[in-house]
Amino acid sequence: MDWTLENVDWSEIAEGTIDTLTMLGFSTLFTILIGLPLGIILFLTSRGQLLQNQVFYAIASFVVNILRSVPFIILMILLIPVTKVIVGTSLGVLGAIPPLVIGAAPFFARLVETSLREVDRGVIEAAQSMGASNWQIIWNVLLPESRPGLVAGITITTVALVSYTAMSGVIGGGGLGDLAIRYGYQRFQTDVMIVTVIILLVLVQILQSLGDRLVMRFSRK
């Protein structure tokens, strides 16, 4: 073991960190943009809800389950042609974002669906009795009432995305995971591996405590 950090090139670490944060930022953003509406649709079309539609729900639920059951590392490889179509390359930070989003959005959608289920049915009924339209119920009742659960869901998803970004190093995705694989694994430079792991660990801690704090702030129950 070599504890002198002699192999660590800090400028590369800095670059890797920025790449990881970029991937994380964009993939979280698009995961929310796709997963939130998907989760809302799953919830609304499920049994006993406003837009109950058993056929639609069964199909959507099936697709979500398939995407969730494929291990991310395999999903990533399977999606290479799709990624090329979407962003023009399957490499680097840009090439990593589509598989990250496609892998995480169904997961986040399920978390959204679960949080919306926690909203008191009576409150939805009360809003209906006041003449609220379905849109108004989504915006003014479902989303605000489930805000703590949604924020917790975003936190869990972002943390999951941190490990996904590291995995994307395998297919040349860039970032800290890429560094860890190229130097730490392939060249036996354990010190590089340890530094990247520590940075990822700190990142996860920061994200989780930030999320927890927001949840606390929004909780009114």
């Binding site: 009360a126 809003a127 003449g131 605000p144 009432e145 009114r220 129950k221």
Partner: protein
Amino acid sequence: MIQLQQLHKSYQVQGKTIPALLGIDLSIDKGEIYGIIGHSGAGKSTLIRCINLLERPTSGQVVVDGVDLTKLDDSKLQEKRRQIGMIFQHFNLLSSATVGENVAFPLKLANRSKAEIQKKVDELLKLVGLEAHRDKYPSQLSGGQKQRVGIARALANDPKVLLCDEATSALDPQTTNSILALLLDINRKLGLTIVLITHEMHVIRSICDRVGVIDGGKIVESGEVLDVFLKPQHPTTQEFVEQVADSSELREAVAHEKAAGNRTIARVTFLGEKTYQPILFQTMQETGTVFSILQGTISRMKDTPYGQLVVELEGDVRQNEKTIETLRQRGLEVEVI
């Protein structure tokens, strides 16, 4: 104000049809407080939810203020619902919004201006006595305060009708009374038509003008509260009356006295101002009948005083008959048990 005609509602549960309402006909006048009493499972919750179409009836008409709600499309129905306020057993407030925001909620849904909302919220919070709690969240309030928020919210769009779904069932007796007083107050101040469902006789007796008794998805008895409860016909009604009038104890007393000999036992009912006049005493004195009271209530139904005494007449048969005749002539109702 509200007419329900041949309302049927049934649910499909696992391929079976479960009937909930079996042909309800009901007419509720403008400005009255109409109570619907029934046991749980009798269909009362389904019935009140049919009035604003939270439950869509399987067949029949729901006419509110001249409009048949079952014939409206979604957006017309949403507009119409704004004229029908509703309060709930479990309050159903937005937990993520303050008291003020909860009351403002229906106004926001109706796209009112900020200034207008502000003014209306002030007014409503004052009406229900919660000015000091404007910025609190529902979790910081007591049950009674939460229901007051519910009432303020239900009144925000100046509805013509207020539906109360077991509004006091989750509250203690004292809070129940204060909420009932508030409902009666807004009924008088605003001329609001109120429909409430409950399983508590006390609620009906305190504020309702008319009552319908629901059992097995049908209205089995209805009319003025006084008539229905002083002379209950249907077994279910009789059960509810017993809630407030210890009838089981009376039955024991009557059985005991009857076993002792050939006695005349009568239920004498007073209504209105007669309640406070010494008619019973005077009549008994004139006919020289000795009597004892087995059970008695002197109370009020909403604003009408009434009394009901069960007396045992200890005179001979002819004397007793004359006494009963005289009491009837003087406007009391006498029923020999």
